[in-house]
């Protein structure tokens, strides 16, 4: 039987091509994902390990119990601890480091790199005068204020050379620093494409902490001292709120973080690969069903000459195995290529891919082969069983054995029940798992129902097809001729479009909601924030307040206080100005009352503490002093503005080391570019600061959401491509089956164009059928998921992106047109004489 199967595969090479391609794409996706993520993990692991080679023990500030101590930031490590640690037996060297955000302006004055990855730190020379972490490539280390060193990558990108004067911004005003050296580093942030500026330790301490303070102390063990021994030795001299960690543990933690991050990415990619494979299942099942139908006589002959049912089933499954094997092997090879290509693509787009060899894990090879073969055999299983049911007598029938279509009643009943249950659960769902269950049931229900739905939906297309005359009529009838086949083909496309539409609806609605949240409560013309989203120096607020073009400004200052038994965040605002800058919805009192000891609180916080307008409470500030505050108003909070708002005049004196989250500004000339320029100048053209109007904020949100959406589109594109293959496959097979008919139509006078049009229209009908179902389901899911999101986001409302939905329908039409190209041509070229010959 194996030989029969092999011969069959070889005989139907062309007809199996689309199936092989479909499986191949899915497998390539899987293996590409595995190869890419493994390569990435290995490279990152390697680069992070290098970063910890000089660290045997690290001493870090540690706050065991937040609520017990005084509010405020964790204390830093002091110079005397460093000195003590360096003097411990078994310590070869001790390094103190301090760092934070440092924006480097490029030659145009813009921020070099992105805000999140612009870092600054100290150069800590060891006994030999060098810092082993940062080997210099050119120049010398920074030694005094006004000097700095830059990482090689950023230096190359910006074109700065040793001796250049560069504008650098940390927290305060822009600093004009002289570039004294360029260095290389294994720092993960730099490997990921960020910038790193190094200052001498004293300068760095001044910028990031206080003189004599460090964020971290790292120790290198003397030969013969183990990390754990060193750790126990250090622990004896540690003050409270600090801890010692071995280098091994740091490296392990880092490795775990990396692999967790990558496994998240791998999971997401594999989910999309799974979707492509799932779509592929429909195509495989369709192909084998058609092959079995076409070979009815052959299979019956096998049965007639003594093959058992089981042998017939097995022969079809062996065929599927061979197809799966070929597809899996080619898919694996393609996947390795994709993995390699993806790495260079990501790094060419500025992504973070450290160098390293291409890693093809054995697991990727095994799972790709297994997935390809199993999926194919699984999908071919039903057709194989059907093949076994062909009675031997079918071999004797001279007439083309027409498969009697089994009743769809049972199928329709099951489908209707599943769809109804799914829709019900999805609508009644109160959490994600309920929604997921409902969505899953509904999709399966609709799959099961597609044959039933195909008739009325395609019949509805009748009037549109009338202008195409007989070709249109025949196309419509051909499309519903085999509802199961049409359904399977359309379903393949439906899956992709359901997901694309659903995500688009959700993304559009979420974008609108975030946008509303971010901008609705803002009356200010501009909001000034740090590019890295780290806190701003209080200098910014001061400078802005002094600028003549500013009519009102207020920082949002971060503070903490113990109230009752817990710690609450306080937001310090300028009581006099805030009313002009924010637009909050007050349920009691108003923002005008925000002055002195009077504060406003959001409804949630008020409810939690049982406060009402007029309630008073005692707050213990960071400096340990107590104050009595009175609630003068209760407002509806949102994700941007919430909590207890206090007048800065009251709050600031209690803060030891404060910074602002953002500064809101209202200007004399509104929110135009000119006003923005004025503010930029007033802030000393600081590359670290972003001055955003409401429009800028909206644009930024839209950009982020669109980027995300485009990535998802890209990932789902594979599923759509597989669906196109499915339509091509179905049409090609149908054309092959209808050779005789097509020959007759040609003989009695339908010209080549008419034949082509007939096939194209059939393709279009099937694709649009899938498209309409997919878009419909997608909108439903968007709506159902939205009602979940709506509970967490007050500003959420369903936004139906009609334009995009139209584009998706056009996409379905394009799929249909594209898929029909080859089958239509084949049909038109078919030899009329051999086609009409009786078999």
């Amino acid at each position: 039987m194996f030989r029969t199967a092999l011969r069959n595969v070889l005989a139907h090479k062309a007809r199996l091509l689309m199936t092989v391609l479909a499986v191949m794409l899915g497998v390539a996706f899987v293996s590409g994902t595995l190869v890419f993520t493994s390569t990435l993990s290995e490279a990152q692991q390697r680069s992070s390990e290098k970063g910890f080679t000089g660290v045997d023990v690290a001493v870090q500030p540690h706050r065991a119990d937040r609520d017990s101590g005084t509010p405020g930031p964790a204390p830093r490590l002091r110079q005397d601890l460093l000195d003590k640690a360096a003097a411990l037996p078994g310590v070869a060297s001790a390094t103190g480091s301090v760092g934070g955000f440092a924006a480097v302006a490029d030659k145009k004055g813009e921020l070099a790199g992105s805000g999140f990855t612009s870092a600054g730190a100290n150069y800590y020379p060891g006994k030999d005068g060098k810092d082993a972490r940062y080997p210099l490539v050119s120049g010398r280390a920074p030694q005094r204020a006004g000097e700095f060193a830059l990482d090689e990558h950023t230096a190359a990108k910006t074109g700065y050379k040793v001796g250049d004067t560069v504008r650098v911004s940390v927290r305060g005003p822009v600093l004009e620093q002289k570039l004294t050296g360029v260095f290389t580093t294994d720092d993960g942030n730099v490997a990921a494409g960020g910038s790193l500026a190094l200052f001498d330790t004293r300068t760095a301490q001044k910028l990031y902490a206080k003189p004599g303070q460090f964020d971290e102390i790292t120790l290198k063990a003397a030969p013969g001292t183990s990390q754990t021994a060193l750790k126990s030795a250090v622990e004896k001299i540690l003050p409270r709120d600090t801890e010692a960690v071995t280098g091994q543990k740091l490296a392990d933690d880092q490795a775990r973080l990396i692999s967790e991050g990558n496994s998240g990415m791998r999971t997401i990619l594999l989910v999309f690969a799974g979707i492509s494979l799932f779509v592929g299942i429909f195509i495989i099942a369709n192909t084998f069903t058609m092959l079995v139908a076409q070979r009815t006589k052959e299979l019956a002959l096998l049965r007639a000459i003594g093959a058992s049912r089981r042998q017939v089933t097995r022969s079809v499954l062996v065929e599927a195995f061979l197809v799966g094997l070929v597809a899996a092997v080619t898919g694996l090879v393609a996947g390795i290529g994709i993995g390699a290509g993806l790495r260079s693509l990501v790094s060419s787009m500025g992504g973070a891919v450290p160098d390293g060899p291409l890693v093809v894990p054995v697991s990727a090879v095994i799972s790709s082969l297994a997935v390809g073969i199993l999926v194919t055999m699984l999908a071919a299983w039903l057709p194989a069983r059907r093949a076994a049911k062909i009675p031997p007598v079918a071999a004797m029938n001279s007439v083309h054995a027409v498969a009697t279509p089994k009743s769809l009643v049972v199928r329709n009943t099951i489908g209707a029940l599943l769809a109804a249950a799914g829709a019900g659960i999805a609508m009644a769902a109160t959490d994600e798992s309920g929604l997921g269950l409902g969505a899953g049931l509904l999709v399966i229900g609709v799959f099961v129902l597609t044959p039933l739905l195909s008739r009325p939906l395609i019949a509805a297309a009748g009037p549109v097809l009338r202008p195409f005359g007989m070709s249109g009529k025949l196309a419509r009838q051909n499309a519903v001729r085999n509802p199961r086949r049409t359904a399977a083909t359309a379903s393949a496309l439906m899956i992709g479009l359901t997901l694309i539409t659903g995500l688009t609806v959700i993304a559009g609605s979420v974008q609108k909601a975030i946008d509303k949240m971010a901008t609705d409560s803002i009356k200010a013309d501009f909001v000034v924030v740090n590019a890295s989203m780290t806190p701003l120096s209080p200098e910014v607020a001061k400078k802005l307040a002094k600028d003549p073009s500013v009519t009102a400004s207020s920082p949002l200052r971060q503070g903490e206080a113990r109230i009752g038994s817990g710690t609450e965040f306080l937001t310090g605002v300028n009581g006099g100005a805030i009313g002009d800058l924010v637009d909050l919805d007050f349920t009691a009192g108003s923002i005008a009352g925000l002055t002195g000891n009077k504060v406003v609180v959001d409804a949630d916080t008020a409810k939690q503490h049982g406060w009402r307008a007029g309630s008073s409470f005692t707050a213990t500030y960071e400096d340990g002093k107590k104050g009595k505050l009175t609630v003068s108003g209760v407002y509806k909070g949102n994700d941007m503005l919430k909590g207890i708002m206090v007048d800065n005049a009251t709050l600031t004196p209690h803060l030891t080391d404060y910074s602002d989250q953002q500064v809101m500004v209202k200007t004399t000339s509104g929110d135009g570019d000119k006003a923005k320029d004025t503010l930029r100048k007033a802030l000393g053209n600081n590359p670290a600061l972003q001055i955003q109007s409401k429009q800028d904020i909206s644009n930024e949100i839209a950009k982020v959401i669109n980027l995300l959406l485009n990535m998802l589109y890209g990932l789902l594109a594979m599923a759509v491509i597989v669906a196109v293959l499915g339509v091509v496959n179905t049409l090609a097979m149908s054309v092959f089956e209808r050779q005789q008919e097509i020959g007759m139509l040609r003989a009695i006078g339908l010209d080549r164009r008419g034949i082509k049009r007939m096939v194209r229209l059939e393709s279009l009908i099937i694709s649009l059928f899938g498209g309409v179902l997919g878009i419909g389901l997608g909108v439903f899911f968007g709506w159902a998921a939205g009602s979940q999101i709506g509970e967490k986001m007050a500003t959420y409302e369903l936004v139906l992106p009609w334009g995009r939905l139209g584009v998706f329908l056009l996409l379905a039409a394009a799929v249909g047109t594209l898929a029909a190209l080859w089958p239509a041509r084949r049909a038109a070229r078919m030899n009329m004489l051999s086609a009409i010959k009786a078999d």
Partner: protein, 260 residues
Amino acid sequence: MTTSPYGAPTAVRTAAPAAVATDLTKVYGQGETQVVALDSVSVEFRRAEFTAIMGPSGSGKSTLMHCMAGLDSVSGGSARIGDVELTALNDKKLTQLRRDKIGFIFQAFNLLPTLNALENITLPMDIAGRKPDRQWLDQVVETVGLSGRLKHRPNQLSGGQQQRVAVARALAGRPEIMFADEPTGNLDSRSGAEVLGFLRNSVRELGQTVVMVTHDPVAASYAGRVIFLADGRIVDEMYEPTADAVLDRMKAFDAKGRTS
């Protein structure tokens, strides 16, 4: 004997023939594998005449029909339907000619399973976008005895009924000429006789012209004239044939085939 100098004995025809082949040649393949299917065949098919083309398999009878019907290309000579030279037409014009001037009946019925009987009958006119001639259509349907079954799908009809639908389809467009390729090949003898009777009636009563390829002497006996092909040439002709006479003539081929 290639063409007959005589008119058909049933009626005197003065009009031009429905179809004419002059030195029609058809060659398949090239070089050593070259096969001459038609070797300079000249023949006329007169209007309102029922002609059967007979010959052993490989004699070129189907090829002659395919070439005359514009289904296959010609290697040399000329093939005309009415006064239209087929060899001068491109595919599109040829398709139109088949649609408007020629009716076809195939051995395997070749009906569209998705259309009902009536829709199958009017299919060529629907393709052309023409309205069928109602009265003529009724007459045709009446003649082939399908009045009660027009709404049935092909798979709800017997083989004989299906072939009658095919006959009606060929007739419905009032073609200049009808070509039938082994029309009874897939039918039992009773259904076959019915179909052949309709073909004969369509000639006698409706004035149609029919050319039928067959290897069945009984089928040929329904025709008014039989031409015999062998090795791509017309070798004989017979008017008002009987089944026995045709059978005898065919046996001669067999004998020749065996002795040569």
